[in-house]
């Protein structure tokens, strides 16, 4: 009995989709991958939402390496919890909410260790795209303006301008009143617009 259970557990680890032969798969056949690699469902999830999760995490922690750690943690949690996702909100906003919690936990640890994000900001995430941007100085100026925003405003502007989330969803996600979302967004847009002048 116990031996059978242990064998089943080992099979769950070794099988690509974690489902022993002869049993109904928890995920669809399309969700499996050959040779023990990541399941196709996981690849699809990351391909569709990985960048948005990373971008949002980066807007909070302002450090590319930390943002990637947060993205990894958020995706791992989301992948495990995906079967219980009830579709009450969009998948994107559900994932961003998980990312928000992961980033906040990370920030709490970081603040406890008294590390200022400005100290680790040197390696910007935009290093990878700077070459494709016509005016690097303008990008740097914009990044400074973004960094100068308070943490809440930065999150709001990314969730609204990049992720297109409704005001109400943002307010619920960040647990702030609706007017806060609107006014912070207004001011953030204004400050960022000034920084955008370099590109005009």
């Amino acid at each position: 009995m116990l031996r059978a259970r242990l064998l089943a557990r080992c099979w769950a680890v070794l099988a690509p989709d974690g489902v022993p032969p002869g049993r109904a798969a928890g995920r669809s056949a399309a969700g499996t991958a050959a040779a023990g690699g990541p399941p196709d469902d996981l690849r699809a999830l990351v391909d569709e939402h990985g960048t948005a999760i990373y971008r949002y995490a980066l807007s909070i922690v302002r450090d590319p390496a930390t943002a990637e750690d947060i993205a990894q943690e958020a995706l791992t949690k989301a992948w495990l919890a995906l079967p219980s996702f009830r579709g009450e909100s969009s998948l994107r906003s559900w994932l961003l909410r998980i990312t928000h919690h992961a980033a906040m936990s990370m920030l709490r640890v970081r603040r406890a260790e008294a590390i200022d994000p400005d100290d680790i900001e040197g390696s910007s995430g935009a290093d990878h795209v700077e070459g494709a941007v016509e005016n690097r100085l303008a990008l740097a100026q914009f990044q400074r303006a973004l960094a100068d925003l308070d943490e809440l405003s930065r999150q709001i502007v990314v969730l609204r301008e990049v992720e297109d989330l409704p005001y109400e969803t943002i307010a619920a996600m960040l647990r702030v009143p609706l007017p806060t979302v609107k006014t912070r967004l207004l001011r953030a847009r204004r400050q960022l617009t000034t920084a955008l002048e370099g590109w005009r």
């Binding site: 116990l2 031996r3 259970r5 242990l6 557990r9 080992c10 769950a12 680890v13 974690g18 690699g37 990541p38 399941p39 996981l42 690849r43 990351v46 391909d47 990985g50 960048t51 990373y54 971008r55 980066l58 807007s59 590319p64 990637e68 993205a71 990894q72 995706l75 791992t76 992948w79 495990l80 995430g125 935009a126 990878h128 795209v129 941007v133 016509e134 990008l139 914009f142 990044q143 973004l146 502007v157 990314v158 301008e161 990049v162 009143p177 609706l178 007017p179 806060t180 609107k182 006014t183 207004l186 001011r187 847009r189 204004r190 960022l192 617009t193 955008l196 002048e197 590109w199 005009r200």
Partner: protein
């Protein structure tokens, strides 16, 4: 955030707030006041008749990237991010499963021992 101020801030105070001048009482007030949020949107529209501040009209103006494009550039992800994330998440999941197996094996304790002893007797 302090307690909400009951008097609505003046237009001048709201303008200053829009310019980014920190004023804690104003900040606290407008954080919860729908009416002042609406006044701010009007004020922003007045000082920016083109509507680029209060609307999404910033997209693709001249050579300047829109606000969204600028944000995407400023927060750009490494090109191989998704491949790395997929691999990392998969590996973490595999590790967690192996840990479960070990916990099951160790947690079996006496049962495992009995099973092994039983096997030995059978073999003999």
């Amino acid at each position: 955030m302090g307690p909400m101020r009951w008097r609505h801030p003046s237009r001048a105070a709201l303008r200053r707030w829009l310019q980014g001048e920190a004023d804690e009482p104003t900040d606290a007030h407008i954080a919860t006041c729908e009416r002042c949020a609406a006044r701010l949107e009007t004020l922003a529209g007045e000082s920016d008749p083109g509507g680029s501040i209060g609307t999404d009209a910033l997209q693709g103006v001249g050579r300047a990237p829109g606000l969204r494009a600028a944000l995407e550039a400023a927060l750009a992800a490494p090109s191989d991010l998704n491949v790395r994330l997929t691999t990392q998440v998969h590996e973490l999941q595999q590790q967690a499963r192996w840990q479960d197996v070990v916990v099951d094996a160790v947690g079996g304790g006496l049962d495992t021992l009995r099973l092994l002893m039983g096997d030995k007797e059978d073999d003999g």
